[in-house]
C-alpha cells in the first residue's frame, strides 16, 4: 500500500516535470516564434528585442534557463502579466477561487443528483423511471452548453426576470449570479454521469453475488447499500474525477457567456493576448490539478476495489 502510494506520487511528479518541459519549450524558446516578438510586438526593432532578451536572461544556456524558470514556479514567483500590468498571482488566485466556487456548487448538486438517479434507474432496469432518466440524460447531454445557456437566459433572465443575466460579480459576491452558470453545467454534465452510474449499477444488479445476497435473505435495502452500491460506484468514481479537469479549464464557453470571472476565461484571455507569464502559470495550474485529481482517483480506486489493494 505504501509502495503504491509512493509510486503514484512519484509518477505524478514525473508527469508534471515532463509537461513543464513541453511548456517551457513551446513558450520560452524560439520553437513557436520568438518570445521577444511575442512580448514586444511585431513592430519592435532588433535592438529593443536584443535588449529585452538580455534583461530577462534569454541569452543564457537553455538548461540554466529551464532550471531558473522551474525554480521560480516552485517558489511561487510567477512573473508579471503584460495584459493586467500586475503580478500574475494577483490575477490568478482570485480567478482560481471563483472557479473553485463554481465547480464546488456544480459538483455539490450534480454528483448526488446523478448518482441517486443513476442508481435508482440501474436498480430496476427497463422500468419507467429508468427509461425516463435515460432519455432525459441523453437529451440534456446532447444539448451543448452555449445552447442551454441561451435557453436558460431567455427563460429566467428575459422571460421570468428572476435572475441576473451576467455573473461578473462586479459588486461583490452574489449567490443569485451563480445560479445560472451552475444550472447550465449541471444540466450538461448530469446525463453523462447518471448514465454511467446506471450502466454500472445495472450490471452489478445482475451479478451472481447480488443474487447470493438476496438469497441469503438480507433486507433489500442492505442488498443495495452494502453489496451492490460499492461495486457499482467504481466506474462512476473515475468519471467524476475526470470532471474536475473539465470544470477547471473546459467550461470557457459558460464563463464567457455569463461574463463569469473564472479560470477558463483567464486562460483564454492570456493566450489571446500573448501574455506568456500568465499563460504559463495557468497551464501549470491546470496540469497540477489534472495530475493530482487522477492520483487521488487512482488511490481512491484501490479503496473501492480490494482486488487492486492486495495484489
Amino acid at each position: 500500500m505504501v509502495l503504491l502510494l509512493l509510486k503514484r506520487i512519484s509518477f505524478m511528479i514525473f508527469t508534471m516535470i515532463v509537461v513543464s518541459i513541453i511548456l517551457f519549450l513551446l513558450l520560452e524558446t524560439g520553437l513557436t516564434g520568438d518570445p521577444a516578438t511575442r512580448v514586444l510586438g511585431n513592430f519592435a526593432s532588433a535592438e529593443q528585442k536584443e535588449m529585452w532578451r538580455d534583461q530577462h536572461g534569454y541569452n543564457q544556456p537553455l538548461v540554466v534557463r529551464y532550471g531558473k524558470w522551474l525554480g521560480n514556479f516552485a517558489t511561487g514567483n510567477l512573473g508579471e502579466s503584460i495584459r493586467f500590468k500586475t503580478e500574475v498571482k494577483n490575477v490568478l488566485y482570485p480567478r482560481l477561487w471563483n472557479t473553485v466556487i463554481l465547480g464546488f456548487w456544480t459538483f455539490a448538486i450534480m454528483i448526488p443528483l446523478s448518482l441517486i438517479l443513476g442508481v435508482l434507474s440501474g436498480m430496476k432496469e427497463g422500468s419507467l423511471l429508468d427509461r425516463s432518466i435515460s432519455v432525459f440524460g441523453i437529451l440534456t447531454t446532447s444539448v451543448p452548453e452555449f445552447a442551454s445557456a441561451v435557453f436558460f437566459s431567455a427563460l429566467f433572465v428575459f422571460g421570468l426576470k428572476w435572475l441576473p443575466g451576467t455573473s461578473s460579480m462586479s459588486g461583490g459576491f452574489e449567490v443569485r449570479q451563480l445560479i445560472l452558470p451552475v444550472m447550465v453545467l449541471v444540466v450538461y454534465d448530469f446525463g453523462y454521469v447518471a448514465r454511467m452510474t446506471r450502466a454500472s449499477m445495472a450490471e452489478v444488479m445482475t451479478s451472481q453475488y447480488v443474487r447470493t445476497a438476496v438469497l441469503k435473505g438480507l433486507p433489500y435495502k442492505q442488498v443495495i447499500l452494502k453489496h451492490a452500491l460499492r461495486n457499482a460506484l467504481i466506474a462512476p468514481f473515475t468519471v467524476i474525477m475526470l470532471q474536475i479537469n473539465w470544470l477547471l479549464s473546459g467550461v470557457i464557453v459558460v464563463e464567457f457567456f455569463f461574463a463569469y470571472k473564472g479560470f477558463g476565461a483567464l486562460l483564454l484571455e492570456a493566450s489571446l493576448n500573448n501574455d506568456i507569464a500568465l499563460l504559463e502559470a495557468c497551464a501549470m495550474v491546470a496540469v497540477v490539478a489534472a495530475v493530482a485529481s487522477q492520483t487521488i482517483a487512482d488511490i481512491g480506486y484501490t479503496f473501492l476495489n480490494p482486488r487492486i489493494r492486495f495484489s
Binding site: V2, L3, G126, S207, Q208, Y209, R211, T212, A213, V214, L215, K216, G217, L218, P219, Y220, Q222, K226, H227, R230, N231, L304, N305, P306, R307, F310, S311
Partner: protein
Amino acid sequence: MNDNQEPVLVCKDLSISYYTRAGEIPAVVDFSLTVKPGETIGIVGESGCGKSTVAMAIMQYMGANGGITGGSITFKGRDLTTLSENELRKIRGSEISMIYQEPFASLNPSLKISTQLMEVPLAHENITKEEARNRSAQMLADVKIPDPERIMESYPHQLSGGQQQRVVIAMGLLSNPSLLLLDEPTTALDVTVEAGIVDMIADISRKFGTSQIYISHNLGLILETCDRVFVMYSGEVVEEGTIKSLFTWPKHPYTNGLFSCIALPTTDKNAAPLKPIRGQLPLPFERPQGCYYWPRCDHYEKGLCDQEHFKMEFVEDGASDHRVRCLRYKDIDHSALDSGDSIREKLEIGEQVLNVDTMKKYYEVRDNSLKALFTGKTVRHVKANEELNFTAHGSETVAIVGESGCGKSTFAKVLMGLEAGTGGEIRFNDKDISNIAVRDRSTEQIRSVQMVFQNPFDTLNPSHTIGGQISRVIRQFGVENDKEKVFNKVMKLLDIVKLPRDFYYRKPRQLSGGQKQRIGIARAFAGNPSLVIADEPVSALDVSVAAAVTELLMDIQREHKTTLLFISHDLSVVRYLADRIVVMYLGHIVERGSTEEVFSPPYHPYTEALLSAVPIADPEITKREIVLEGDVPSAMKPPKGCPFCTRCHRRIGDICDNELPLEMMVADRHAIKCHIPLKELSKIKPVIRIPDEAERVHAQ
C-alpha cells in the same frame, strides 16, 4: 430415512415458464418432488433440461421474465408461491440455503469474508455481532478450512477455488437450514478438490440432518451423494427412483442412453465403445408431440410414442418409488442390448513420432513487492514444466492428465510453437521443434502438428461461414489450391465429421456446441496431420454430445493413423480412450506408463488419489476412499522437495519435503517419481474394484 416424518419440501405438478419476445416458453412442466428430512435428492440432466430452473423456483428467484404457471411448492406446510417478498426473505438463507456453481462469482469481491458470513445470522436472528463472528469462525472450521481467523479477514480473490466454495457452503449452513440446494457445486473445481467437498457435504448432512437437493450433470457424483435421483429431459422428469434401483435397473431409454454415453471402467474403446445418443436435445418450442424423447429413441414405436403426452407411472415389479415416463419400458431389456455389435480391432502402434526429452518451460514473473525491490530478486521463475520426458508413437493415444495448473496446457503451447521451451528438446520426426515459433515453422510442420481446442464456442470466427473457415485452412496448408478442389475437400471433411454438407454456408452462431467442436476437428484434420493435440476437447460439452465427439475423434484417428495427445483432467475418459497416460502434478510428470500400468499398482500416491477422486456412475464398482487435504500449491511457490509432499497421504518423512525424488523405472516406458521404494508401492491394493460379470446384480 424416517417415512413417518413430515416432508420438508413438496413440489406438486409444478410448471415454470419464461416469457420472451417469441412468447411463453415452458421451461419445466409437470414436476413433482418430495424431500423428506435428512434426505438427499439428486436432479440430473443435460444443459437446458430445466434442473437449475427448479432450484430457482424453489428459491422464488426467477428474474423479471420467469414465472410459475401451475402447481405448488410447499415448504414445511407453506406454499412458497403465495408468500410475500418479506415472508420469503425470512425463509431464504435461514431455512432454505443455496450453494452455487461458481463460488468466485457468488462472493462479493469488495467485502471481507467475515462481513459476508456474519450478515447471515445477523439478518435472521437477534444476536450480537460478536456472537455472529464466533459462529462464523466456528462454521469455517466445520467446513474444514485451515486457519479460519485468517480467512475471515481475507477478501474472496485471496482464496483458492476450493476455499471459496467452502466459504459459500459455510455461508449456506450458518443458520442451520432444513433444506440445502446445491447447483453443480463442484463443476468449477478440480477432481481432488471436488472429492474433498463432496465428502464434507455428506458429513454435514449427517451431522445437521439437513435435507439436500443436489443438481448435477454428473451421474457419478449423484451416485456418491444422493439417496434418490430424478432424471430430467427437456423440462420434465422422465425417471425417478432410489439410487440403487435406478442405477441398477434404469428403465427409461434416455436414462440408459446417458449411462451408455459415459466412460465407465467397463467400457473400452475397442471392445465396448460408448454409444452416443443420436440427435440433439429439442428446444422448448420445438418439442415433438407425444414423448419428448422419441426422435432420439432406439425403441420408438410409430403410432404409440408420438401420439399423446403421458404421465409418470410406477414401475411394475420394481422398487416402490421407482417411476418412469415411458409407455414401452416393459418391452425393453437394456441389458440384452449391450452385446458388442460394434467391436473394433485394436490399432497397430506405429513408429516413434514424438520424443519429449527433458523439456523445460519456465516463465519469468516480475515481482514488484517492496521486499523484492530491496533484495533485488525482482524476477522469479515459475516452473510450468520441469524436465518432461515421454514418447509417443504413430496411431497411439497418449493422455496427459492433471488438475489445473499442472502445466499440461503449457506443454501443448510449446509443442504448437506458441511459446518457446526453456530447455531440453521436443523431437518431432527427429527434429527439435521446441524453440521454433509457429510463424517460423514450415507449412509442412504446421500442417502435421494440429490442435483441437477446449472451448468450441470461442475458437470459430463468428463473422465467417464454416465453409470459408475450413477452405482457408486447406489453402494455407497447401493441400489444394484450385477453387473446386478446395470445395470438394471441405465437403469430404464435413462428411468425415458427420455434419450435413449445407453447413458449408452456415455461420458459427447457427451451430450447437457439439457441432462447433466437430468443425474444430475438421479444421485440425484438414491437412492430414500426423500429430493432433486435443486440449480437453469435450469438457465443455454435454454428456451425450461429448460421447459422440469422442467417438468421432477416435474414428478419424483410426482412419488417419494419427498420434493423438489427449489433454484431460477426467481419468474416466482417459482410461477409456488412451493407450498411454502421463500424469502431471505442478509441472512434473509423477507417473507415466501404459493405461493398464497406470491404473493398477504400483501407483504414484497422486495417481492413487486421482483414481479415488473420480466419481464412477456404477453402484457395483467399489473404490478405496482417499481424500486429499487442501489445494494444489501455487506454481509461484512450489514445495522444495517432492511437488506432491504438501498433500500426500503416504508422505514418509523429511526426505519428501526436502528432496526432489528421482524417476524409478517400473517397466519399459513405465516410470514413477516417488521416494517410496517400489517394493512398498507394489504392495498397495488396487483403488478401483470392478466386480466380475457373474457377481453383478442383473446377472443373478
